[in-house]
Amino acid sequence: MEPYQLIGTWVAAGLTLCLFSFLYKDNPFFRFAEALFAGVSLGYYIGITLSQTIKPNLILPLAQGVTWDNAHLLFAGLVGINLYTRYIPKIAWFARLSLAIYVGYFVGINMVQKLQGEVLPQSADAMVNLLPPAAGGGIDWFPGSFNALLSFVGVVSVLVYFFFSVEHKGIVRPVSRLGIWFLMLGFGAAFGYTVMGRVSLLIGRFNFLVIEWIGGTMRAFGGGS
């Protein structure tokens, strides 16, 4: 490990321990690390956008000369710069034009995307055959039909639960209650996955502390393999 890498590892380990210190109680070390993370993240975002997007996609092509092929970049650049007019009170309203363009573009792209890419295919997938054919002929009662029925009942009961145009009484009440049970099962699965996700992040930090920080330092000074 190079000396600069070792210094970086020690800084990262120190910041990790600062953040872990919150588990005992709130303290200035945690707040320092938290604020540093927020600041560095913003700085990173600005830097990476400038170097990886604005420079190669806007500045460099225009620096080579404005032609009919890249004249549209001038418009895109002006729309972006125009956003900052909001800091000049007299012409602050001008920024709304750029916002209107952005909102219009993404509303347009999202409408098609959501309908074609989510609503239609997933609605079609939810319309299951309740009596699916078995491979050897006849009906696949289990698990085919059972799973299809479970899926059907789940989708309908949850939709009924979210149907607020009628009062949940009479036949609607037990169906919506069943919908709550399906929702709870869904939340339970999501919670289980969330626990796994959070433990994974903990593993990542512990691996870093054990293998890279302690182990790396020992290896750097010839104390371990």
Binding site: L23, Y24, S41, Y44, Y45, I48, T49, Q52, T53, P56, N57, L60, P61, Y105, F106, I109, V112, Q113, K114, Q116, G117, E118, P121, Q122, A124, D125, G186, A189, A190, Y193, T194, V195, M196, G197, V199, S200, L201, L202, I203, G204, R205, F206, N207, V210, I211, G215
Partner: protein
């Protein structure tokens, strides 16, 4: 002798006068943190090696890549950052190793702003060092990061060279041999996205839905339940959910390729399979506390005087 020390301790009560049940209900949560911490540290220091079973959503990604070979191109989209690298990095590294084993050409790019670019560089430097005969520009290329993921991927389906005029090193794409054969997403055989947020959804509901390009998806465990809807609807060919999904892919790779097996034997490699030991121990601890907490809750409710 003071009055307090003269008090007799009734059965079931502690010297402080509280029952064990009351003490448990008010247990300092830092004890739980400490136990989970130990449950994490000990299996890292002394790996147990619990078996990893493979599920169909992960196997289908593996099998798809098994159908590809030299001359085929797979695009890797690093749509996550360091905050979730612990669960996302093992999965994308494993799929990348698989592609390199099969001499598939690789295009890497990042669409996630907070660290996607850094993760691309990390992954390529780690994995490509294991396959030193692969040549940059011919066998693999790093296109870097592009802002505005949704618009960028929409345009990539038409013309990748317009979205990425240069690679991450500043070389024009027209000068890179690999990119001379790839003009748009239609020229790639598979897109592998490992995503921490909504970008994975966009690959499915925009690129797959509108252009029919096959998508293999890896995601954080938190996001996994929602992606099953995309998997069932056939919008993604497979799904790796969290560290478990990554460990399954590693298992398949180790069983299929001897070189990969030697790579994963390295004790310094932070693999998902090693992480699953910790997951098992920590889950036992957490489930134990959930059960005990519920038992304590219901017992205290029974003991409480009825109104």
């Amino acid at each position: 002798m003071s009055d307090s020390t003269m008090k007799t301790v009734r059965p079931g009560n502690t010297p402080s006068g509280k029952t064990w049940l009351e003490r448990f209900e008010k247990i300092d949560r830092r004890w739980i943190f400490l136990l989970v911490g130990l449950g994490t540290l000990i299996p890292i220091l002394f790996p147990i090696g619990f078996p990893v079973s493979v599920t169909p959503p992960v196997k289908s990604i593996y099998e798809k890549i098994e159908t590809l070979g030299p001359g085929d191109v797979v695009l890797f989209s690093y749509d996550y950052g360091p905050t979730t690298a612990a669960e996302n990095a093992p999965m994308i590294d494993a799929v990348l190793r698989h592609c390199l084993q099969r001499r598939i050409k690789v295009i890497a790019l990042a669409l996630y702003p907070l660290g996607g670019f850094t993760e691309t560089a990390r992954s390529l430097s780690v994995v490509m060092a294991e396959y030193p005969d692969r040549v940059y520009g011919v066998d693999y290329v790093n296109l870097g990061y592009k802002d505005g993921a949704q618009a960028a991927m929409r345009q990539m389906a038409e013309d990748m060279h317009a979205v990425f005029p240069t690679d991450s090193r500043g070389t024009a794409l027209s000068e890179i041999p690999l990119m001379q054969q790839v003009r748009s997403l239609r020229d790639v055989d598979l897109v592998v996205t490992v995503a921490t947020g909504i970008i994975g959804e966009w690959w499915a509901n925009l690129i797959n839905a509108q252009f029919g390009i096959p998508i293999a998806l890896g995601c954080t465990a938190v996001s996994a339940p929602k992606y099953y809807a995309y998997l069932d609807a056939g919008q993604i060919i497979g799904l790796m959910g969290g560290l478990k999904g990554a460990s399954e892919y590693e298992r398949l790779l180790i069983d299929g390729y001897p070189l990969a097996a030697t790579i994963y034997e390295d004790p310094l490699l932070q693999s998902a399979m090693k992480g699953m030991d910790v997951q098992t121990v920590d889950h036992v601890i957490i489930i134990g506390f959930i059960l005990l907490g519920n038992v304590a809750f219901f017992m205290s409710r029974r003991r409480a005087p009825r109104r």
